[in-house]
Amino acid sequence: MLDDFVVRGVLAALGAVLATGVLGCFVVWRRMAYFGDAMAHAAVLGVALSLAFSLSIYVGVIITALCIALIFIQLTDAGQTADAALGVLAHTALALGLVIVSLLSGAKLSLSAYLFGSVLSVGITDLAVIWGGALVVLGVLWWQWSDLLTATLSPDLAYAAGIDPRRKELLLTVLLALVVAVAIKVVGALLITALLIIPASAARQFARTPEGMAVAAMIAGALAALLGTQGSLMFDTPTGPSIVVAAAGIFTVSIIAGRLRS
């Protein structure tokens, strides 16, 4: 069954969206969309460096994304606004990645796969990495759920309960780097944020509790993954963008349904 590239592609997409769906809720609640974007753009630099030093793409992406997050913390501590710091970092990383790739001969072709995704070309190893990473992300979120939620709601409430909100923020940053690595072959660096934001936003319409929203986001994401891959095969369109378009469709339906209900 796993010999079929379509099956592998669908499974890879499902693994990625389960993780982005739940983590995306935190990104939405904490208004970290731009932060997620910066880390995803950093992934392009990560890919370039991996190609240059013949490293595993996944390792390169995670390390680069974490470095960008670290530099971001340094910059904001030094008085830059979060907005400006992220703007500088995201685009510097993206541009630097493109420049480095142009210096490597023969790497240009493979880079576009990481910019826009190439989920139908994932191998068994990729599949294992994607599902392994996704399960780690989901497991950690499950384990830390209550603490993360408290810290997200109010740092002071967390402190009073003996929870250090800065450590929880750091944890979310690490998970975000992991998710970027998990999703980069599915939708590509430029569209990863979409998989974080859109399913969670669609889920908001129907949820009464944070847990309900997380589950609904996973369902919305899975639906988008199935519809998107199906659509891309039918209309011969790129799979990653097709998944995002499907997610946008689900979001639109959710908004309309939400309006009709109220």
Partner: protein, 244 residues
């Protein structure tokens, strides 16, 4: 026995001494109120005591295993987060329906469990924050300007609730407020803060202290009168309720 103590705590921020050698101690069962003008470091002091800020010098000591129930000045719930009252009470730890119900009742609320936090009125919201804070039977209840956005009768009734909570849970209460007369009527001890501790004692002692009058003007003589008045009034109310 001391539950929570600050020993010569100083906190510097931006080259400015927000807190200057503040020493205070809290014993079980007492209600202590910190009063002070805007920018006097009241909220900073509470945040140092809960561990959100590290003092620049001095030390905060807590009794072993001290449970703090904290009611923040304001809590913004992002509209992107769906949250029922019942689910909110489960933070940071899941609690039984029975405990949740009882806490809501103690805070003066009933039957709000399935409502969304975003749909509550200001008074209900503050009471839900209070309910959450008392759910684990804290040793110390801390409130930071907990009646912000409530009208005068609303905050008076909120502080009466605090007294009821103290009686029921037998916890110490440390609160910060700018509503002098309302708060003082419910306090055992008042600490007047302006970066440093200006004066402290029973409400009567503090209201009469020159340092306090200097900070709040002579008009506060009226506040004390109001305090007396309010106090009588409460008893009046209570006897009515008892009669009904």
């Amino acid at each position: 026995m001391t539950l929570l103590a600050a020993e010569k705590v100083a906190f510097r921020y931006g080259g400015h001494n927000v807190l200057d050698r503040v020493t205070l101690a809290l014993v079980p069962g007492e209600i202590v109120t910190i009063v002070g003008p805007n920018g006097s470091g009241k909220s900073t002091l509470l945040r140092v005591l809960i561990g959100a800020l590290k003092p620049s010098s001095g030390a905060v000591t807590r009794a072993k295993g001290l449970k703090i129930g904290y009611v923040p000045q304001k809590l913004h719930i992002d509209q992107s987060m769906p949250l029922t009252v019942r689910r909110f009470l489960d933070l940071p730890k899941r609690v039984s329906d029975h405990d949740a119900c009882q806490a809501l009742e103690t805070a003066g609320l009933t039957d709000l469990g399935q409502r969304q936090m975003a749909g509550l009125s200001g008074g209900q919201f503050q009471r839900v924050l209070l309910a959450r804070a008392i759910i684990g039977r804290p040793d110390v209840l801390m409130l930071d300007e907990a009646t912000q956005g409530l009208d005068q009768p609303g905050s008076a009734s909120f502080y009466r609730q605090i007294e009821a909570v103290r009686t029921e849970l037998d916890c110490a209460v440390l609160m910060v407020s700018h509503e002098l007369h309302v708060v003082m009527s419910a306090s055992d001890r008042v600490i007047c803060l302006n970066g440093h501790v200006c004066c402290e004692g029973t409400p009567e002692v503090v209201s009469a202290a020159p340092a306090y009058r200097e900070l709040f003007g002579t008009g506060t003589g009226g506040a004390l009168a109001l305090y007396r008045h309010d106090h009588d009034h409460h008893h009046h109310d209570h006897s009515h309720e008892a009669a009904e």
